[in-house]
Symmetry: D2
Subunit: 201 residues, 4 copies
C-alpha cells in the first residue's frame, strides 16, 4: 500500500504550519505501507492542482491530508467535505472567495472513505486526544478535502481519501492565552497512529 500524506504551508502571517512540519517528519514506511509526502500551498484552486500532480506522480492508494485547526485541543479526523468556499481571511494568493461552490457539478458533500472512528481510537491508544469532526470549515482545508473527493469521483475511482486536523504547536500559542496546543512530536505520533489504523482497515 502507498499512502500520500499532504501538509499545508504557513498562512495568515504565520511562519510555520504544524501540518507540513509534522508531515515532513513522518517515517518513509509505516507498517507495510510506503509513505510519500507533499507540501500543499494554502491557496484555493492551486492546492488541488498540486494534489492532482502528486496523485498522478505517485499513484497512491490513499491520500491523507493534514491541516492546522487553530483552537482545537485534539487531533480530529474529518468525516465530510462540503461544496463551499467561504473565506474570512485571504489565502496565500490573496484570494477570499465568498459563498462559492468548489465544483459546480460536484456533489453537495463527500464523505471520507477513511475509517475515522478507528483513526480516533488508534490516536487515543497512542495516548493522545482525538475527536471526530463533522466540519473542516470553509477555507482551504475543506477545499482540498473536497477536491480530493472530486478527483476520486471523476478520475481516480479506487482512491481513498480523507483529512485530519491537528492543533497549533506550543510556540504558536505563546501570545494566544488559553488556546490549546500539541507538541510537534505528538502530532507526528498521532498522524502515524492514524496511518496505522488506515493500513489495517
Amino acid at each position: 500500500m502507498k499512502i500520500l500524506v499532504t501538509g499545508f504551508d504557513p498562512f495568515d502571517h504565520a511562519t510555520v504550519n504544524p501540518a507540513w512540519e509534522a508531515v515532513r517528519r513522518l517515517p518513509a514506511t509505516v507498517k507495510t505501507a510506503t509513505i510519500v509526502t507533499q507540501e500543499i500551498p494554502t491557496v484555493f484552486g492551486q492546492s488541488a492542482e498540486v494534489l492532482h500532480a502528486a496523485i498522478v506522480r505517485e499513484r497512491p492508494d490513499v491520500v491523507l491530508s493534514i491541516g492546522q485547526a487553530g483552537g482545537r485541543a485534539a487531533l480530529t479526523p474529518e468525516r465530510v467535505a462540503i461544496n463551499l468556499d467561504d473565506a474570512r481571511i485571504a489565502d496565500n494568493a490573496g484570494q477570499r472567495p465568498q459563498d462559492q461552490s468548489i465544483q459546480p457539478t460536484g456533489a453537495p458533500a463527500y464523505f471520507t472513505q477513511l475509517p475515522v472512528k478507528a483513526m480516533v481510537a488508534a490516536i487515543q491508544q497512542a495516548g493522545l486526544p482525538a475527536q471526530l469532526s463533522t466540519t473542516a470549515g470553509t477555507f482551504v482545508c475543506n477545499h482540498l478535502m473536497y477536491q480530493a473527493q472530486y478527483l476520486r469521483a471523476t478520475e481516480f475511482p479506487d482512491l481513498r481519501a480523507g483529512f485530519l486536523h491537528i492543533p497549533f504547536l506550543p510556540e504558536q500559542v505563546i501570545h494566544r492565552p488559553g488556546t490549546p496546543s500539541l507538541a510537534l512530536a505528538d502530532a507526528v505520533r498521532g498522524i502515524t497512529a492514524a496511518l496505522e489504523a488506515i493500513i489495517t482497515d
Copy 2:
C-alpha cells in the same frame, strides 16, 4: 546554588500526575545549580511535613514546587499563596477541609520570592506557552505553596520559594474533550527554563 524541586503524586482517581512525572525527569544540574527532587503526597498537612523534611535534609537555596492545574493551557508561575484550605474533592488521605486557615498565626497571604515574570519570559523563549497566575486555588497546591512560605517566615529566612502549575498530559485529556494539554517533554523543558530564570535572577 541548590534547588529543591517538588512534584505531587497522583490524586482524585488519576494514575499519573504530570508534576512528579516531569520533576523526576529533570537533569541533576541546570546551569550552575544542583537540582534535587522530592515527591510530595497530595495530602493537606502531610505534604508540608514531607517538604519540611526535604528542606532539612537538603538545605536548598530555593524551593520550586510543581503542581497540575487541569484545564490550563500554559505553564503558570504563581505569584501568591493564601491562608485558606477549602477542598471540593478529597485529598489522598480522604480529608476535605472547608474554609480553614492553613496557619492560624500565619500571614493572610505570602508572595513568592521567585522572579515570576522572568520565568514566564524564559518559558516563552523556550517556545512554550506561559502566563502569570494569581491563584493557586484552595486545594493542596496552594496549601504547599503557603506552607513553604510559612517555613521561610518561621524557620528558614534565607529560603526563596515558589510554585509553578503545569497543564494535564495529553493522555489525561483523551476523555476530556476540548481540554488543553502539554507533552511531558515540554513540561520538563518548561520547568528547566523556569529554573534557568531563577538561577540567573
Copy 3:
C-alpha cells in the same frame, strides 16, 4: 408569508430545552409574516414525521428549526445538513444509531435556502452574539435539518428551510463551570431577529 418555527423537547435527562422554550414564546406575527410553531420530539425518525405533519397542516413558506447546542456561546445558523445519523447518547426513544444514512437515496448533504449571513448580521444588530456554523452535528438536530431538506427535495419544492442552534439557558450551566449560556429572553429576541432577516430576504 407563513413561517413554521420548530423547537425540540428536553433530552438527555434535561428537564428543559431552550429551543422549545424560546419557540413557544415567539410572537404570532413578525413583520408581515405569520409565525406558527411546533414542538418536535428529540427522536430520530419520529421528529421528521411530526415535522411532515406540521408542514402538511400549515403549508408554510419557510421552516426554521431551533435546537440546543450546549457549549456554544452564540446563536449559530447552520449552513448544511449531512446524510448521517451517529448518536453518542440515546434519543428520547432510546435509539442510538451508529454511522447510518438518514435517507439512502438522499443527497450526501443539503445546503439551507435561508440567508444565513443576513441572519447572523440581524442577530448581531440586535446586540446578541451570532456565528455561522457548518455543522449541526450527527444527532437529532442534524437529522431534522436534513429531513426538512429531503421533504423539500421530494415533496415540497417551494419550501425554504433551515436550522438555528442556540446556547444553553443560564439555569442549565449552574453545574457546568465555564460553559456559556444565553438568557431565554435573548434567545427569543435572537430568533425573532433571524426571522426578520428571513422575511426581508
Copy 4:
C-alpha cells in the same frame, strides 16, 4: 442595614461596563436593606478616593463592589484581595503600574467579610451560574477590593466589604467568538440574589 454597591465605568476602549449598568438598575431596597450606589472610575488610586468619599457620605454597613470579568461564564464572588497592582493595560487615567504594592504598610492580602458561599448558593438558586473565585486579578478590580479592606482595617472597623465579578454583556461578545456573556437583567438579578444572601447572613 445599608449597603453601598459600587460599579466601575467603561475602560479599555469599551463604551459600556456591565458593572455600572447593572448597579444603577438595582432596586432602592432589597429585603430590609437600603441600597445606595456609586459609580467608580476605573483608575488606580482615584477609585479608592471615590469609594472613601461614598463611605463617609453614606456610612454603609456593607460595601459590595461589582466589576467586569471578561471571559468568565458565571457571577463570581471574590474571596481575597492581594496587595499588588500590576497592569497589562492602561487604566482610565493612562496609568500602568507594574509590580507595585497598593499599600506599603497594608497586609499582603485581605479576605472578604462577606458570605461568599451563601452568595454563590443564592445566585444559583436564582437560576444563574455562580462560582467562587480566588483571584480578582491585579488591575483596578483587585485594587478597589483591597482598598476597601484597607479602609476597614484603618478607618471603618465595623464595615464588611467584598467584590463580585460579572461576565461581559451579550453585546460585548459579538466580535469575541466563543466568549461567554450574561444578560444585563440577569446580572441585576444575580447581584440582587447576592445582596439577599448578605442581608440574611
